[in-house]
């Protein structure tokens, strides 16, 4: 199948696959958010199925890739009723419509999206980590039709693999899928994910605040200098941030509004996060642990326990599929990760925190004004309303930061200025959502909405 048909076909399969699973879990949200979350979930499920082909000895070829996508859709047929209910629900939502003030944002976003897609299509894979790991393994997976390929067996690379070829497999598998479709040298799917995630952020912000306020926060997010650079670079961090943020978004909404299907759906994205980056299970355990009391208040202790156990359980299953099963049963060589583990020490932990704050978190050249704006809004919120942000969202932000600091402490390979800098990709969108959800901003937003309605009528 030519690449110009192959890509839309596979994306359609992802949409149906993901939509069916989320529909079966009972997720009900807006059309835009449902569609985007469905594509992300579909990408994750397809990559798992394709990986499963390798586990059972089916050669990884274009045929098996397309067949695994079709199989994924066929597997969702028993969920037809719930999928139909989801589509019916989406049809009942009246179109949101756009305002005059949305036009410049849509126009500018279109231009930025074009540049992201162009760059991710035009440029070959560039980052060192991707050339030495993700794309190298993907290239020879296509050549040898298996992930257990020459990269892990050729004498010239014996003892030279370090940890890049052993990175959590989602990014590598997506790269294999794209190469089999016909996009052999670029990372076009990274651009697709970045564009969809940007639209997701805009839609999520518009649910919280007036479209003008949402647009301003969305522009701050879209143009965040460091994150923008990774919208067309092949790395594991951006896509992992996408999964973590989608998971936290659903978890937060589910817990605050006591909607169980949102919590169940968040498990899909947390599992995908553990499938896309190794330290994710640590962040998920911390986040679920620290927010457990809130979950208990919303759903009762038994249901909350079941929810947390499910989220952590599925995350560990996806983590173990690669890091335990595949490493120990299938791969002829092991990563040197164990050698890179250093014992926890409070001194090093403190150093990592200080270094992260001074060299990463507070740098305006990396994150623009988002971190400072978050601090200012939090301070003003406390002064004006005697309360901070949404407890669940703030706790998740703290959990992610704590997880990154712990990872930076116990992994000698985690360098603050590189690994933890890219780890901030998970935090920045959450900061933007927290700013929008703050009482200060929602109050201001309500005043703008009331003023607009009063003056236009």
């Amino acid at each position: 199948m030519p690449s110009e048909f192959g890509l839309p076909f596979v994306l359609l399969m992802h949409l149906i696959m993901g939509g069916s699973v989320l529909g079966a879990l009972g997720l009900r949200t807006t059309k835009t958010i449902t569609a985007i979350l469905s594509v992300f979930a579909g990408m994750f499920i397809h990559s798992m199925l394709f990986f499963g082909c390798d586990l059972v000895g089916v050669p990884l070829t274009a045929t098996s890739m397309f067949r695994s996508a079709i199989l994924g859709v066929l597997c969702t047929l028993p969920m037809w009723k719930t999928t139909r209910d989801l589509v019916r629900h989406l049809r009942t939502i009246p179109p949101r419509g756009i305002g005059l003030y949305d036009i410049p944002v849509i126009g500018f976003s279109g231009y930025i999206f074009y540049m992201i897609m162009w760059a991710s299509f035009y440029w070959p894979v560039t980052p060192f980590d991707a050339m030495a790991g993700i794309d190298l393994v993907a290239t020879y997976t296509v050549v040898d039709h298996t992930i257990v390929n020459q990269v892990f067996t050729h004498p010239s690379l014996q003892g030279q693999l370090s940890n890049q070829p052993f990175y959590a497999p989602f990014t590598m598998l997506m790269q294999v899928i794209m190469k089999l479709i016909g996009f052999t040298h670029n990372q076009v799917w990274v651009g697709i994910v970045a564009v969809l995630f940007s639209i997701f952020m805009w839609a999520a912000l518009r649910q919280l605040v007036h479209p003008t306020v949402a647009s301003v926060l969305y522009l701050l997010f879209l143009l965040t200098p460091e994150m923008f650079g990774y919208t067309y670079l092949l790395q594991t961090d951006y896509v992992n941030a996408v999964f973590i943020v989608c998971g936290v978004y659903l978890f937060w909404n589910g817990a605050e509004r006591s909607i169980a299907p949102m919590i169940w759906s968040s498990a899909v994205f947390f599992a995908a996060a553990a499938w896309s980056r190794t330290e994710a299970p640590l962040l998920i355990v911390l986040g679920c642990g620290l927010t457990f009391m809130r979950l208990k208040n919303a759903f009762g202790s038994v249901k909350a326990m079941r929810m947390v156990a499910t989220i952590i359980g599925v995350s560990f299953i996806t983590f173990a599929l690669w890091h335990v099963l595949f490493f120990n049963v299938y791969l002829p060589v092991r990563p040197s990760s164990a050698d890179q583990l250093v014992g926890f020490s409070f001194g090093r932990f403190w150093d990592v925190i200080v270094l992260t704050c001074t060299n990463v978190v507070l740098r305006v050249d990396l994150w623009g004004i988002i971190v400072w704006l978050f601090g200012a809004v939090m301070f003003a919120n406390v002064v004006a309303y005697r309360r901070t942000f949404s407890v669940i969202l703030s706790t998740w932000i703290a959990a992610v930061m704590l997880g990154l600091w712990l990872a930076g402490t116990i992994f000698s390979a985690a360098i603050v200025e590189q690994t933890l800098r890219r780890g901030m990709f998970k935090v920045v969108p959450l900061l933007v959502l927290a700013i929008a959800a703050s009482q200060l901003v929602t109050s201001a937003s309500s005043k703008i909405a009331a003023w607009e309605l009063r003056r236009s009528s």
Binding site: G97, G99, L100, Y101, I103, P104, V105, F108, I112, M115, W118, A119, Y122, W123, P124, T126, F128, M131, A132, G133, D135, L136, T139, Q150, V151, H154, P155, S156, L157, Q158, G159, Q160, L161, S162, P165, T184, H185, Q207, V209, H210, T212, V216, L219, L220, L223, P225, F228, D365, L366, G368, S445, S446, I448, A449, A450, W451, E452, L453, R455, S456
Partner: protein, 167 residues
């Protein structure tokens, strides 16, 4: 949030549109000193936009890789073209190559060399177990590179010593 839909075109909508446009221009414009958004936009969007036509004319994947990898690709291609079937090439340490190259040196890593030209019979400098089997070596000088073999004009022991010394 209020779900009542205001009119598409109204006086408040015009004010709010102007506000959004103003903030967008402020973010992308040079009005603020050391504006990180403007700098990032300039280097990641405007730079490519201004060269889009000329960049799009470059169809060859090799040329696009060269634009990103520069001398690393040239060196890898040189190695590929000069390597004999019987050669086992010792890749020099990165520090040795750094002395002669202005761009960031990555080709000395066998994984990067493999990504650039495919699997070849090479030995990494850090592979101390297989290093003794090498029978071809990279010699660098300012603006020149060659593969040398035992019995050739270059003294292999001196070259290895230089490799070690450069670390």
């Amino acid at each position: 949030m209020n779900t009542e839909r205001p009119a598409f075109f109204s006086v408040p909508a015009v004010y709010l549109t102007a506000a959004v446009v103003f903030i967008l221009l402020l973010l992308l414009g040079p009005a603020i000193n050391d504006n990180p958004y403007a700098q990032s936009y300039e280097s990641r969007v405007e730079l490519y936009r201004s060269k889009l036509d000329s960049l799009n004319k470059i169809r060859s994947i090799r040329e696009r890789i060269f634009m990103r990898q520069m001398a690393n690709l040239s060196v890898a291609e040189y190695i590929d073209s000069k390597l004999r079937p019987t050669d086992t090439l010792l890749l020099p340490p990165q520090a040795y190559a750094k002395r002669y190259m202005e761009t960031a040196v990555t080709w000395t890593d066998p994984r990067i060399l493999t990504w650039l030209i495919g699997f070849r019979n090479v030995v990494a400098w850090t592979d101390t177990a297989r290093r003794k089997h090498a029978n071809a070596f990279i010699a660098l000088e300012p603006s020149s590179i060659w593969i040398t073999r035992p019995g050739g004009q270059t003294n292999i022991d001196s070259l290895i010593h230089e490799y070690e010394w450069s670390r």
